[in-house]
């Protein structure tokens, strides 16, 4: 046969087979070995015994929780070999120990735990050298510790020959497992080192024998995991978490990858579900002496109380990131888990792989769910949407992942993509009314995709009874879409048609939700609805605002003022945040109106009243101004860069308006100038400049400003109206008429434009038409609020 190998080469070969678990090769090697030296017989017996025992275990793996097996014919043979090896006492000390460990293991397999413990106590496991030990021996020692732990657990404490009882005994068991786990990690690291260097030597382009992934086997798996299982069972969360961290900090090997993935996920779960910032301690810190996390009745030691001559390598180096907070740690662990779960994503769609796909999907979706919980808690939706995007390789026909992805996009403000993903969600789950509603919300929001919004809203309405409570919301949605389209529509007929549609939808919805948007409803009816809404939900700012507008439309200025006051007290920062400044303007305008109609009992003298009201308004504006300015300094980075500046400009303009009404052109100019510094090209600024010019009496200048404003925004009704009036003053009637007619085209409900138009027509001598215009103006005026209703946001 083959040439006999020299002694040392033979030994190396045996060692390799033992560490690689190639037990079928052992008998042949033993034959060669015993042919060399008589004294090797005992070693041969040992090797044969080992090979047969492990071969047996490979073929009949032990299942957790299985009952002892008793003697088996194959095992009898093993016992014979081992007894033979031990009997003569010729073995080298190392081999003697190995034989005893194998014997103990055999006892365990046969169910004789007492005997196994006896064997272990002879060996004194702790004295076995870890430094410089061959790889297979590390595994042996690790298994021995685990087996010892198993035996101790199986034995009722009373019948045990070991003196310790109760908590000490628990501690002994745990120590066995922890040692086993540590040595097992060390063993796996060493294994990988050997395999790697072998791979380097081979220099083969093929992956080589390394591809054969190693399986841990029952004993090592138990050793690695049983310790933390017991910790958690005993309610000692501190130790359990500590153990998890020890395993995770050990440098990864290929065999531990799955274990790491599982443990990382479990630790993340514990961090997210069972801990809080105050009970957290960082992985590099000692755990707190007292922790609410631990079961107070069964207080065990907080840290491990043993040492090993060699420990598994841990991740080290400079600038290692070490989490300082539970969410941080959970996130790190989840990202690691995610990367692993992602690697295992089963991509094939063939039926044979259905089960695999399910497994990979499940393990990934748990990770993604936990990521969502962790990132949601910290408001990191942008990052979440990126993570969930990576989950899309699992997502084929998986509603949950699609839906979560859509929601994360929505939360991250990526509206357009969100709508598209939502469409897929609707396809996967056509019965859920929430999804199309979310899509409508996006469509009528920043996207302004009204047609798509209408489609989605109809979906909800068409669901009929299935949509239950959401059906009303569907009508609201569709009403909003119509009302927005009405605003957009340029033709009056279209506008009215949409408004009619919107009204129909609103009426079907009415009575459930606040923030009423009522266009085209008669004012008293609307008042009723808003009151109803307010009763349902007291402090909704938009309802309050609407109520104020409605009241002003009915010329109940005093009531409107009160409402505005109330709204302002509830939403003091509204004019800063919302950027509309409208509440304030309402107030100012309302004040002026009160004055004009002189129905206000509070001010006995109209003269002082006038000054009082407007100056109050002015002081309000100034206050708003300074607050806006200060909020700009303090919170500028928080908001969008443009938004606060627009607000500021608007407030300046409002201030200018107030000064104009007080006939103080100098101040008004200054205010306008401030606004112009911010937005020189704004039509509002130009309009205001025109008004100031008018106040000063320089009509030509005013006309120039108005014309410039119209050049920028050709449909600005207010400018058109003023320009029309100026042209009227300049007696250029036909031009004035033209401009005012255009203005009426743009906004058919602007009563002052109708009024001006009437004046122009009258001046032209067209009395009939003028009368009609005046009548229209009168009619509209009766129902017009001080601000158009459309300033109230229409959103879901």
């Amino acid at each position: 046969m083959t040439a006999r190998k020299s002694g040392s080469r033979l030994e190396t070969e045996i060692e390799r087979c033992r560490s690689e678990g190639q037990w079928d090769k052992i008998p042949e090697l033993v034959r060669q070995l015993s042919a060399k030296l008589i004294s090797n017989d005992d070693l041969g017996e040992l090797l044969l015994g080992e090979a047969k025992l492990l071969q047996y275990l490979k073929e009949n793996p032990i299942k957790p929780g299985a009952s002892p097996r008793g003697a088996r014919p194959k095992l009898v043979e093993v016992r014979k070999h081992l007894t033979a090896a031990l009997d003569r006492g010729n073995l080298k000390p190392d081999h003697q120990q190995e034989a005893q460990l194998l014997m103990a293991k055999l006892c365990y397999v046969e169910g004789d735990y007492q005997e196994a413990i006896g064997q272990y106590s002879q060996v004194t496991l702790d004295d076995m050298q870890l430094v410089g030990a061959p790889v297979y021996r590390l595994s042996m020692i690790a298994e021995a510790h685990a087996t010892k732990g198993l035996c101790l657990e199986k034995l009722p404490s009373a019948s045990s020959s070991i003196s310790s009882h109760g908590p000490d005994r628990d501690q002994e068991i745990i120590t066995c497992y922890e040692k086993s786990g540590d040595i097992a990690l060390l063993y796996l690291q060493e294994m990988e080192k050997v395999a790697l260097s072998a791979g380097m030597q081979n220099r083969s382009p093929k992956p080589g024998p390394v591809t054969q992934e190693q399986e841990l086997g029952y004993f090592l798996e138990t050793g690695l995991q049983r310790a933390h299982v017991i910790h958690f069972k005993n309610g000692n969360l501190t130790r359990g978490v500590g153990r998890f961290r020890e395993i995770l900090r050990a440098v990864e090997t290929r065999t531990t990858q799955n274990l790491r993935m599982t443990i990382a996920r479990q630790l993340a779960e514990i961090l997210l579900r069972g801990m809080c910032e105050q009970s957290y301690w960082s992985p590099l810190e000692d755990p707190p002496q007292q922790s609410p996390l631990n079961d107070s009745l069964r207080q065990g030691p907080l840290a491990r109380d043993y040492s090993l001559s060699r420990r598994p390598r841990v991740y080290s180096g400079e600038n290692l990131f070490c989490p300082q907070e539970n969410t941080e740690e959970a996130l790190l662990l989840l990202l690691i888990s995610e990367s692993m779960a992602n690697r295992d994503a089963v991509l094939s769609r063939i039926p044979e792989h259905n089960n695999d796909r399910l497994i990979s999907l499940q393990s990934a979706s748990v990770v993604y769910d936990l990521l969502t919980i962790a990132l949601g808690r910290r408001g990191q939706y942008e990052m979440l949407s990126e993570c969930l995007e990576r989950a899309m390789k699992f997502a084929f026909e998986e509603f949950h992942l699609w839906y979560q992805f859509a929601l994360s996009l929505m939360a991250a403000g990526k509206s357009a993509r969100a709508v598209k993903v939502l469409k897929e969600c609707i396809r996967l789950k056509p019965d859920d009314p929430t999804i199309p509603l979310l899509a409508v919300k996006l469509c009528i929001g920043s996207l302004h995709w009204l047609e798509e919004g209408e489609r989605f809203a109809k979906m909800v309405v068409d669901m009929g009874e299935k949509a239950s409570e959401f059906r009303a919301k569907g009508y609201l949605a569709i009403g909003l879409v119509y009302s927005l389209r009405a605003t957009d529509a340029s033709l009056r007929g279209m506008q009215e048609e949409y408004q009619k549609k919107a009204l129909g939808a609103f009426q079907r919805w009415v009575g459930s939700v606040p923030a009423v948007q009522l266009l085209g409803v008669t004012i008293p009816e609307a008042l009723g609805y808003v009151r109803q809404a307010l009763q349902l939900q007291g402090d909704d700012v938009h309802s309050l605002h609407l109520l104020a507008l409605l009241l002003s439309a009915q010329k109940h200025y005093h009531d409107a003022l009160n409402i505005v006051e109330m709204a302002l007290s509830e939403y003091p920062e509204n004019f800063i945040d919302s950027g509309r400044g409208s509440s304030l303007l309402d107030r100012a305008v309302a004040d002026r109106r009160q004055l004009n109609t002189m129905t206000l009992p509070d001010f006995s003298d109209p003269e002082t009243g006038s000054v009082h009201a407007t100056s109050m308004a002015a002081s309000r504006v100034e206050q708003a101004l300074s607050e806006a300015a200060s909020s700009l300094q303090s919170s500028a980075p928080k908001q969008g860069p443009l938004h606060p500046w627009m607000t500021l400009a608007q407030i300046w303009l409002h201030a200018a308006e107030v000064y104009i009404s007080m006939s103080k052109p100098a101040e008004a100019t200054a205010c306008t100038q401030e606004a112009a510094n911010l937005f020189p090209m704004s039509h509002n600024v130009l309009f205001m400049k025109g008004q100031v010019a008018e106040l000063r009496g320089s009509v030509d200048e005013a006309r120039r400003w108005y014309e410039e404003a119209l050049a920028i925004s050709p449909t600005h009704v207010k400018t058109m109206q003023r320009l029309g009036l100026i042209l009227h003053q300049l007696q250029r009637y036909s031009l004035a008429e033209k401009i005012l007619r255009d203005a009426v085209q743009v906004n058919s409900t602007a009563h002052d434009v109708w009024n001006s138009l009437g004046e122009v027509l009258q001046a032209q001598g067209n009395d009939d038409a003028a009368t009609e215009c005046f009548l229209t103006a009168l009619e509209l005026e009766a129902s017009s609020p001080i601000m158009p209703f459309t300033i109230i946001p229409r959103a879901l």
């Binding site: 591809t211 900090r249 990367s339 695999d356 969502t372 997502a395 979560q404 979310l438 700012v541 003091p572």
Partner: protein
């Protein structure tokens, strides 16, 4: 006024706060007395209301007083508690804090005072609770904090009851805690921030090189290194609740509660779940279902508040209160759906779904144990399944690549890692798959299945394959810009593939795998496109803006627009020389905006 407050010198803050608190108490005190005089007025329904009809709440009900008046004994306990702290010497505070735990009757009695909010004890109790919080002793602070859910509910329900003044001292207490918590020890505005971990940076748990290139996407590279993100603060000091700031303040208070969750007793967690349920269902049809008869006005909520609430409910759910917790979660989710809050829906869905698949199940009532089991360490996924990893390790080869000299043909097989775009084939024609993605510095060329020590090995393999020197130089020079780099790498990998294909003839094993894989892909893509085109009848070829729905739903197509560019660039290089290969479905996708 507000401005003045902000500019307050930091040292004055504490003193100022205290005066504010006392002032508010004094101003509300008078009203509290008036409230007490109206003895004939029935106790507000909200005070003692509970979710009647479900067995679980019986437990709570027993602690509730529906009759309105406290028992003399309970009164005694509270009064004793009120007096003893006042006489306590400074040094005895921490011992006293420990001793509070022993007083079993005290906590239920305080709950009753808060619920029955016209008690004359309410004001001193609130005052005392604030004193506890102000003391800075962690145990005393937590003692106050455990009543937070009940206090919030009490405040909200009284507010909704249109009698805002009645909640005066609770309001002052809540604002007091808020104003204490928004500043740090030096009186500076507190900013809560956390570090977003990144896999591209080594940590105590991992080494970037072993993670492999999959996770090192452009996004990950873009924020290479760790970024610190503020998630709360700085907050403004508040003197009064307004509709506008109400839920900002309450969200922040929940955040504080959140940070101490582990210390909270189960009774506190129960009140929290009730708070969650009630805030969300009051005034909505579900209220009838829950048979809760208290307030029937709707409460405005903010999405952020709901998310905080869910976080706390989630903890309760996993720590001994599964029944109440699930109910509360359902209610919050119901509301989130009605309000169309994506943030709250996200977290709710995640919690619900992870309860099924997670290893840690919610436990029996009262138990806070965490239960884990030994899990098998070997992969449960069978070896021959095509996974993201195996597909990376796989060398895409074409068994009909006869003319190896033609670069055009070879360009079609480009291989990089993440994401792929498939050119599906029909009728047994040869598979041609264009796999493309953003490559990473070391991971472009997979070095054998399972070989993940890319750092050490990729160089060797690169050398082995004879990548031209210039390419590598390019690679190392262009490191900084992520996009530029990935382009370079793409070139690199194209080049390499050319070499790979010419070097080695396909072996039977790999060949069959590649066939399987491509067959699998074409099948799944057909499925995708069939499913999608059935609805809108758009031909997949016409992926124009007019039919944007057509193909963009395949998982692989949901990559960044960059990928589209990659594909587009790759395509002109590879005109198809094969007649059989029609019709081909090429997948594009449009990224919006």
């Amino acid at each position: 006024m507000l401005l003045d407050h902000c500019s307050l010198c930091s040292t004055h803050r504490y003193a100022d706060l205290y005066f504010f608190f006392v002032k508010s108490l004094a101003s509300f005190g008078g009203i509290a007395v008036i409230g007490d005089e109206r003895v004939g007025v029935p106790a507000p329904a909200c005070g003692g209301a509970c979710l009647r009809g479900d067995p679980h709440s019986q437990r709570l009900k027993s602690a509730d007083s529906r009759c309105g008046k406290m028992l003399a004994m309970e009164r005694g306990v509270v009064e004793e508690w009120l007096s003893e702290f006042k006489t306590l010497p400074e040094s005895g505070v921490s011992n006293y804090a420990v001793s509070l735990k022993v007083k079993a009757a005290l906590i239920p009695a305080i709950y009753r005072v808060i619920r029955e909010n016209d008690s004359d004890l309410l004001e001193p109790v609130c005052h005392q609770l604030f004193e506890f919080y102000r003391s800075g002793e962690p145990r005393l602070m937590r003692f106050t904090l455990q009543f937070l859910p009940e206090l919030i509910w009490s405040y909200l329900s009284v507010r909704a009851g249109r009698d805002p003044h009645r909640s005066g001292c609770i309001e002052a207490l809540l604002l007091g805690i808020y104003n204490l918590e928004i500043v740090d020890k030096d009186g500076q505005s507190k900013v809560l921030a956390f570090t977003v971990p990144s896999l591209s940076k080594p940590s105590v748990y991992h080494e970037p090189s072993t993670i492999g290139s999959l996770a090192l996407t452009e996004g990950a590279l873009a924020n290479h290194g760790l970024s610190r993100v503020v998630y709360s603060g700085p907050h403004l000091q508040r003197e009064t609740f307004t509709a506008q700031n109400r839920f900002d303040v309450l969200s922040f208070l929940l955040l504080c509660y959140n940070a101490a969750l582990s210390h909270m007793s189960n009774s506190s967690l129960q009140t929290l779940c009730q708070l969650g349920s009630r805030v969300c269902i009051c005034g909505y049809p579900r209220q009838q279902m829950r048979r809760y008869k208290g307030i029937s006005t709707r409460m405005l909520v903010s999405s952020e508040f709901l998310v905080q609430l869910i976080t706390d409910i989630h903890y309760a759910l996993c720590n001994g209160e599964p029944e109440l917790g699930f109910k509360a979660l359902d209610d919050v989710m119901y509301r989130a759906q009605l309000e169309l809050f994506p943030e709250a829906l996200l977290v709710c869905n995640a919690i619900k779904s992870s309860q099924h698949g997670g290893a840690l199940k919610p436990h029996k009532e009262g138990s806070r144990r965490i239960h884990v089991e030994i899990t098998p360490t070997s992969s449960r996924i069978s070896r021959n399944a095509v996974t993201s990893l195996s597909i990376r390790g796989h060398r895409w080869k074409r068994h009909d690549a006869v003319d190896l000299g033609s670069p055009d043909e070879l360009m079609e097989i480009s291989e990089v890692d993440e994401g792929f775009c498939s050119r599906s084939t029909q009728g047994g024609s040869p598979p041609a798959i264009v796999v493309s993605s953003n490559a990473t510095p070391s991971g472009g060329r997979p070095t054998g299945k399972g070989q993940r020590r890319l750092g050490s090995c990729s160089k060797a393999s690169r050398d082995k394959e004879g990548v031209p020197e210039s390419c590598r130089d390019q690679l190392s020079r262009k490191q900084p810009g992520g996009r530029a780099m990935s382009e370079t790498l793409e070139l690199l990998s194209l080049k390499r593939l050319t070499l790979t294909s010419s070097q080695s003839m396909p072996k039977s094993g790999t060949l069959s795998l590649s066939q399987t894989a491509s067959a699998v892909f074409s099948r799944s893509f057909e499925h995708v496109s069939n499913a999608l085109t059935a609805g809108n009848a758009a031909h997949p070829q016409g992926c124009s803006p007019s039919a944007p729905e057509a193909n963009r739903y395949s998982a692989c197509s949901l990559q960044e627009e960059r990928l589209a560019c990659v594909v587009e660039r790759a395509e002109p290089l590879g005109p198809s020389p094969h007649k059989q290969r029609s019709p081909s479905i090429s997948l594009h996708f449009s990224t919006d905006l």
